[in-house]
Symmetry: C2
Subunit: 220 residues, 2 copies
């Protein structure tokens, strides 16, 4: 292999190839050698960046999260919004993000794979609720999220927002989706987390329907 | 192998061995040969019962479901209970079942495996909600479950009851568990599904805490 002048470029190419192969063949059935063949890369060239196939999978998951984490940090620092408004902004960004729509779509295709799906579910039940929790605690403080269930709300926002609302897991047309989000809104209102209002409901329904608009259902 | 006089006994032995090996080594890493070695069985003796490793996994899942399905059929036929009371009886049976506690515990250990976990999540998002849906529709008819979200309630009962409430996925001591169920009760009341009342809440909290009492957390 030619001397690598652009290590970041190589890393990106490895991740793109792995994402595509994992989605096509499944994570278990894809070998490091398949990725090397796809890229015409040497073993050393890959291991310089990733010490295992699992490390590639972890990075693919981390990439998806990084977009949200950056926005969350930015939002937490703002003084001109209530915590509830920040939580709304975070949700809108997740469904209304043309800049990382391709990334989200390729992640959705990967969710067909049991290893990837399981890793995502673990992330949604552990790390993601912690992030929601910090915003909800701020909302309890500033009075915009008057809940006695901050932990439960954080867990449910992460689980239901990433799994139950997704038409690839629970098929839905636009009308079903709006009905589903209205159901979630009613339930969250009841526990003091009035995050889905009449502005947000149609916008999230629109965004989620568009997200899987062209894709087929994930049979995970 | 000696002529098999007890095919059902052989099938049960295969399932018991597979359940244990899948839980210990993981589904992917367990081979048909491992199961044969464990039982001292011939290839033909196993393939007579199951045509693939996947067929064994499917049967393990079906076994867990069969217990609930039998009770559901029985409940649906009864004339002396409202649909809401039937739904409560179904929930109590799921958490308060010493007769199949060992089966439930061994299934919980299996949930560490990505293939098994993914198959269960698929079941909880597709077939299980259909069963809850039939009871909820009866409740809309007899007035005991006055909801405009029958499909959403069926999906959420299946997902949250089997996943979010489980301390192996979302760690909880007894007090956390009661708080979590109270949260779910408040949300379901708000969408017209008042299934968790003051009798059911402590009973379900008790049952779920006992279920994973001796077991360690599943790191799925």
């Amino acid at each position: 292999m030619a001397h690598n002048m652009h290590p970041e470029e190589t890393e990106r190419r490895i991740l793109d190839s792995a994402r595509r192969l994992f989605a096509e063949k499944g994570y278990e059935k894809t070998s490091i050698q398949d990725i090397l063949n796809d890229l015409g890369l040497s073993k050393g060239g890959l291991y310089h960046h990733f010490k295992s196939k699992e490390a590639i999978l972890d990075q693919l998951n981390a990439d998806e999260w990084a977009v949200t984490a950056r926005l969350l940090d930015e939002l937490i620092g703002r003084k001109d919004m209530s915590a509830l408004e920040k939580l709304r902004a975070l949700i809108i960004s997740a469904v209304d993000a043309p800049d990382h729509l391709d990334l989200v779509r390729s992640q959705l295709a990967l969710l067909k794979d049991p290893a990837f799906f399981t890793a995502n579910m673990r992330f949604w039940s552990t790390r993601l609720p912690e992030s929601f929790r910090s915003l909800i605690d701020m909302g309890v403080q500033d009075g915009s999220i008057p809940t006695t269930y901050p932990e439960e709300a954080a867990q449910l926002l992460a689980l239901l927002g990433n799994y139950w609302l997704m038409p690839c897991f629970y098929p839905a047309d636009h009308a079903d989706m709006e009905h589903r989000i209205r159901c979630l809104a009613t339930m969250l209102d009841a526990i003091g987390v009035p995050v889905f209002d009449e502005t947000l409901i149609p916008r999230v329904a629109e965004g989620l329907t568009a997200l899987t608009h062209e894709g087929e259902a994930v049979s995970a």
